[in-house]
C-alpha cells in the first residue's frame, strides 16, 4: 500500500475514532453520577435542585421541553419544507431552482446565536402581543424560530429524494392521462417518502440539538411545562446555562454530563434512523 493511501486510510479511521471518543468521554464523565444517583426518577421527575442539601437531579421537565419545542418546529416546518421541495424539484425551471437552492444554502449558515437574538428582539414580543401572553419567551416561540432554522435541511434533502424518483414513473403516470399535480402528489411524492422521511428525522435531530436559540428564547423555567406557551428549558439549554458554574467533578457537573449523554443517545438514535435510509439506499 503506498504511504499516501495509508495516510488517508488513517484519516478515515480518525473520523470513526472521534465519534467513538465523544461517546466514551460522555460515559466516563457521567459514571460518578449514574453510580450514585442513577434511577428511573432521573428521567421522570421534574425537580432540579443542584445546590440544595441533598441535591436533586431530575431531567423529566427538560426532556418534555425538548420534545415540545422539537414538535412545534417539525409540525410547522415539515409542510412548508416538503411543498418548497416539490416546487424546486418539479415545478420551477432549473435556472430558477438554482437561485432558491443557493438562498437556502446561504441562510443555512446564519449562526444560531443570531437567530436567538432576532427571536428575542422580534419573535418573542410578537408572540406575546398576538397571543396575549405574559411573556413571549415560550417553548412555542423557540419552536417557531427553529422551524425556520431546520428548513434548509428539510428542503434540500426532500428535493434530492424527489429528484431520485425514476422519470419512468412520471411518464407512466402521464401516459395514463394524469395531469402534472396528480403525478406529483400521487406518484412522485409517495415514491420519495423514504427520503423525505429521512429528511424529517435529520431535521428533528437538528432541532433537538439546537442550543443557543432555545437558550435565549425558550424562557428557561425549570418546572415541567404544562402548555406549549409556557417558558421552559430544554436539555441543551440546561447544559449550556449551568456547565460553566458547576464546580468541576461535583455531582452537578457529572449530572450535566449525564444529561449530555442522554442528549447524545437521543440524537444518535434519530440520526441513525435517517442514516440507515440514506446509507441503505446507496448500498443497493
Amino acid at each position: 500500500m503506498p504511504y499516501q493511501q495509508r495516510l488517508v486510510t488513517l484519516a478515515g479511521y480518525a473520523v470513526l475514532l472521534i465519534t467513538a471518543l465523544i461517546f466514551v468521554f460522555l460515559v466516563q464523565q457521567s459514571w460518578p453520577f449514574v453510580r450514585e444517583h442513577g434511577s428511573l426518577v432521573f428521567f421522570t421527575g421534574d425537580r432540579w435542585l443542584p445546590v440544595s442539601l441533598p441535591p436533586v437531579f431530575q431531567i423529566g421537565g427538560f426532556l418534555v421541553s425538548s420534545g415540545i419545542i422539537t414538535g412545534v418546529a417539525i409540525i410547522i416546518g415539515v409542510p412548508f419544507g416538503v411543498l418548497a421541495a416539490i416546487s424546486l424539484a418539479e415545478l420551477l425551471p432549473p435556472g430558477v431552482s438554482v437561485i432558491f437552492r443557493s438562498i437556502f444554502e446561504v441562510t443555512a449558515g446564519i449562526p444560531s446565536v443570531v437567530f436567538g437574538f432576532l427571536g428575542l428582539k422580534i419573535v418573542a414580543p410578537a408572540v406575546a402581543g398576538l397571543l396575549n401572553l405574559p411573556t413571549g419567551l415560550t417553548g412555542f416561540s423557540a419552536g417557531l424560530v427553529l422551524s425556520i432554522m431546520i428548513l434548509p435541511t428539510l428542503v434540500s434533502l426532500s428535493e434530492e429524494a424527489l429528484r431520485a424518483v425514476p422519470r419512468e414513473y412520471a411518464e407512466a403516470s402521464y401516459a395514463l392521462g394524469a395531469n402534472r399535480w396528480q403525478t406529483i402528489w400521487r406518484v412522485i411524492v409517495p415514491s420519495a417518502r423514504g427520503g423525505i422521511g429521512a429528511a424529517v428525522f435529520l431535521a428533528m435531530g437538528r432541532a433537538i440539538g439546537e442550543t443557543m436559540t432555545v437558550l435565549m428564547i425558550a424562557g428557561g423555567r425549570l418546572a415541567m411545562p404544562t402548555s406549549i406557551f409556557d417558558p421552559m428549558r430544554p436539555i441543551t439549554a440546561l447544559i449550556a446555562s449551568e456547565v460553566n458554574n458547576a464546580a468541576r467533578n461535583s455531582m452537578q457537573y457529572h449530572a450535566l454530563f449525564t444529561a449530555g449523554l442522554i442528549l447524545f443517545i437521543i440524537t444518535f438514535a434519530v440520526n441513525a434512523i435517517a442514516a440507515s435510509v440514506i446509507v441503505g439506499k446507496k448500498a443497493r
Binding site: 465523544i22 460522555l26 449562526p111 402534472r180 440539538g209 435565549m216 441543551t236
Partner: protein, 258 residues
C-alpha cells in the same frame, strides 16, 4: 414557452416563497439595524466598561484566530478521510460503520461537542481554556462538512485536482461554522470583554458570537445599537464565506460540464 400552474401548484410555490422570506428578511433587517452602530472606533478599539463603550476588536481578532486554528486542524483529517471514502474504502461493514459515524457526527449537538472538547482538550490534554482547545473542538464539529465536501467532488484517477473544488468548498463552510458557533466555545475558553488581544494559541479569547450572546442576555446596560452592530459584523463574516462556498461550487460545476 410559459408554464401554466394550477391552483394547487401555485399554493406550492407560495410555500416556497414563505420559506425563503424569513431568513432573507432577517439578514436584511440585521444589516440595516447594524449600520448606525458600526464605526471605525467600534471595529478597531478595545472594549471599555464591559463593552458598553469602546469597540470589539478583540472579539473580531479572536474569531479570526478560531477560524485559522480550526482550519489548520480540520483540513488534514477531513480531506484525507474524504479522499479515503471516495477512492479506497472497500465495500464492507467497516466502511458502512464509518459512514454511519459520519452522519451521526454531523448530528451531534454543538453543546455536546463543548462537553467533549472540555473533557479532552481543556482538562485531559491540559490545554486549558484557550484558543487551542476551542479550535480543536470546532475542528471535530466541522469535520463532517469537510469530509462530505471533499468526497463529493473527488472522482477517480486524477484525485487531487478534482478534490480541490471540494476542499475549497469544505474549508469555506468550516470557516463559516467556526466563526458562528457559540455553544462549543462557551466552555472551552471564550471570555467576555477582555482588555487585550490574544497573544498565542494558549490565550483565552473573545469571539463575536459569544460577545453577542453575553451582551444580549447578561448586560442590561448594553446599548441596542452595539448588539445589532455585533450581530451585523458576525453575520457579514459568516455569510461572506457561505456565499463564497456556493459561488465557488457552482462555477466549478459549470466548468466541468463541458
Amino acid at each position: 414557452m410559459r408554464t401554466k400552474y394550477s391552483a394547487r401548484e401555485i399554493a406550492c410555490l407560495l410555500a416556497l416563497f414563505l420559506t425563503v422570506l424569513p431568513p432573507l428578511a432577517a439578514v436584511l433587517y440585521i444589516f440595516v439595524q447594524a449600520l448606525p452602530g458600526i464605526s471605525f472606533e467600534f471595529i478597531f478599539s478595545m472594549p471599555v466598561r464591559r463593552g458598553i463603550e469602546g469597540g470589539i476588536l478583540p472579539a473580531i481578532v479572536g474569531t479570526l484566530w478560531l477560524m485559522f486554528g480550526t482550519t489548520l486542524a480540520v483540513l488534514p483529517i477531513g480531506v484525507g478521510a474524504g479522499i479515503y471514502l471516495a477512492e479506497f474504502a472497500p465495500n464492507n461493514r467497516l466502511t458502512r460503520l464509518l459512514e454511519m459515524a459520519l452522519v451521526n457526527l454531523a448530528g451531534v449537538p454543538s453543546v455536546v461537542f463543548g462537553l467533549f472538547g472540555y473533557t479532552i482538550f481543556v482538562i485531559m490534554l491540559g490545554f486549558g481554556p484557550s484558543i487551542l482547545s476551542a479550535s480543536l473542538t470546532l475542528a471535530a464539529l466541522t469535520l463532517p462538512l469537510v469530509v462530505t465536501a471533499t468526497r463529493w467532488q473527488t472522482v477517480s484517477t486524477i484525485i487531487m485536482p478534482c478534490a480541490r473544488t471540494g476542499v475549497v468548498t469544505g474549508t469555506l463552510l468550516a470557516l463559516a461554522r467556526a466563526a458562528g458557533e457559540t455553544a462549543p466555545i462557551l466552555i472551552t475558553g471564550a471570555a467576555f470583554a477582555l482588555p487585550n488581544l490574544p497573544r498565542s494559541f494558549m490565550s483565552r479569547f473573545m469571539a463575536l458570537p459569544y460577545h453577542l450572546y453575553i451582551s444580549v442576555t447578561q448586560i442590561p446596560a448594553m446599548p441596542p445599537e452595539r448588539m445589532w452592530a455585533t450581530a451585523g459584523i458576525l453575520l457579514f463574516l459568516v455569510l461572506t464565506m457561505q456565499v463564497g462556498a456556493t459561488i465557488w461550487r457552482e462555477q466549478e460545476r459549470r466548468k466541468k460540464q463541458w
